[in-house]
C-alpha cells in the first residue's frame, strides 16, 4: 500500500474517537454529542498482500491545489452513535 494511505480501520477509529461531552470548565455549559455523521471525499488504494487478500487503503484528498489532472475522489459516509445509548451523557 502506498505510504500516503492508511487502512480503513485506522481512519475510522480516529474519526469517531471524539469526546462525547464538550464543555468549558466545570461550571460552563456542556454539549453532549449523541451521534456523529462524517462525510468526506477520499482517494482509494486497493492492493493485494502476499497472501492474495485485498487491502483497502484510504486517504482524504492529499493536496489542496486544483491540479490539471485531478485524482479520482470517491466518497465515504460514517455514522457513529454514543455507546451505551443514554439520554444523560453525564
Amino acid at each position: 500500500m502506498d505510504e500516503a494511505f492508511r487502512h480503513l480501520r485506522e481512519t475510522i477509529v480516529e474519526l469517531v474517537n471524539q469526546s462525547p461531552v464538550v464543555g468549558d470548565g466545570p461550571f460552563a455549559q456542556r454539549v453532549s454529542m449523541t451521534a456523529i455523521e462524517i462525510e468526506l471525499p477520499l482517494e482509494l488504494d486497493i492492493t493485494r498482500d502476499a497472501a492474495g487478500a485485498l487491502a483497502v487503503g484510504i486517504t482524504p484528498p492529499l493536496y489542496m491545489l486544483k491540479t490539471s489532472v485531478l485524482p479520482s475522489f470517491h466518497h465515504m459516509r460514517v455514522r457513529a452513535s454514543l455507546h451505551p445509548e443514554t439520554n444523560d451523557a453525564e
Partner: protein, 247 residues
C-alpha cells in the same frame, strides 16, 4: 501505486474485516472510557470501471484523469447475531459434503451455485420439496449422476473397516462367517452382497458393525479363501481368509 481489479465479494469481505477490527479497537478503548462512540453504518460511493469476462464481474477503481467511470454505492450496517442466525444458513458441519469437493465438472458446479446449492444437504432440501432441479437450474444438470457422485464422496470419507473374521455356528447350528468392523453396512436401502471364492453367498444379517454370511463349506477355509463384500455401491472389500489356530 498498484491498482488491482477486484471482485465485489472480496471487496466487501475486506470492508467487513476492517469494520470488525474497528469495532475491536473501539471496544478496547471503551474499557477506560465508559462513554464512547460505536460505528453504526458505513457508506462508500466508488467511481469504478466494471468488466465482465463471461463468468464474473470485476471492478477497477478510477484513477487520476480517468473519465466515464460508473458509480457503485456500498452500504454496510450493523447486525446482531440473532439477525445473522435468522437470515443465514447454518455453518456447514464437518460431515457435510461440499459440492466443490466432489468430482463434478466446473460448469455443473457453477450452475448449482447459481441456484444456491453448495452442499449435498442443499440438494437434499431441494429434493424434499419435490423441486425438479434439472428445470430449476440451466438444462444439463444430471441429478442422478450428481447424487451418485455425492454418495461416493461421502462414502470415501467414511470407508468401511474390517477388524475381525470368525467362523461360528449360528442359531440353527449352521456354519456362519462373522465379519466384524466399522461402518460396514450403513446404507439401509442396499442389502450387502458377498462372494466366497467367486460364488454368491447368503448374507443373513448386516449392520454397521457386523456382517453374517452363511457358509456352505466351512472346510474351504482350511486354505486361503477370497471373500468379496459389496456393502453398498461405493464400498467393495476384498479379504483373504484362512482358518488358523486360535491365539
Amino acid at each position: 501505486m498498484q491498482n488491482e481489479s477486484w471482485h465485489l465479494e472480496d471487496f466487501v469481505d475486506s470492508l467487513v474485516v476492517e469494520l470488525d477490527k474497528t469495532r475491536e479497537t473501539l471496544a478496547v478503548k471503551a474499557l477506560n472510557k465508559p462513554l464512547s462512540y460505536t460505528v453504526r453504518d458505513l457508506s462508500l460511493d466508488l467511481n469504478i470501471f466494471p468488466a465482465y469476462d463471461g463468468d464474473q464481474v470485476s471492478f477497477t477503481t478510477a484513477q487520476a484523469g480517468q473519465e466515464g467511470a460508473s458509480k457503485v454505492t456500498i452500504q454496510l450496517g450493523t447486525i446482531t447475531d440473532q439477525q445473522v442466525r435468522a437470515t443465514s444458513k447454518a455453518p456447514a458441519g464437518k460431515d457435510e459434503v461440499k459440492i466443490d469437493t466432489i468430482d463434478v465438472d466446473k460448469a455443473t458446479k457453477k450452475k448449482l451455485r447459481k441456484i444456491g446449492v453448495t452442499s449435498a444437504d442443499d440438494l437434499k432440501t431441494i429434493e424434499r420439496k419435490n423441486v425438479d432441479i434439472e428445470q430449476a437450474g440451466d438444462a444439463g444438470i444430471d441429478y442422478n449422476s450428481l447424487a451418485n457422485k455425492i454418495e461416493k464422496s461421502r462414502r470415501a470419507r467414511q470407508p468401511p473397516v474390517v477388524k475381525s473374521a470368525s467362523l461360528i455356528a449360528d442359531a440353527e447350528a449352521r456354519p456362519c462367517l462373522v465379519i466384524k468392523g466399522e461402518k460396514l453396512a450403513v446404507n439401509p436401502k442396499f442389502p450387502p452382497v458377498a462372494l466366497i471364492d467367486g460364488l454368491l453367498a447368503d448374507v443373513t444379517s448386516s449392520s454397521a458393525g457386523e456382517l453374517r454370511i452363511r457358509v456352505d463349506n466351512p472346510a474351504s477355509f482350511a486354505t486361503a479363501t477370497e471373500l468379496v463384500m459389496m456393502v453398498d455401491p461405493f464400498a467393495v472389500m476384498r479379504v483373504n481368509l484362512q482358518q488358523g489356530a486360535a491365539p
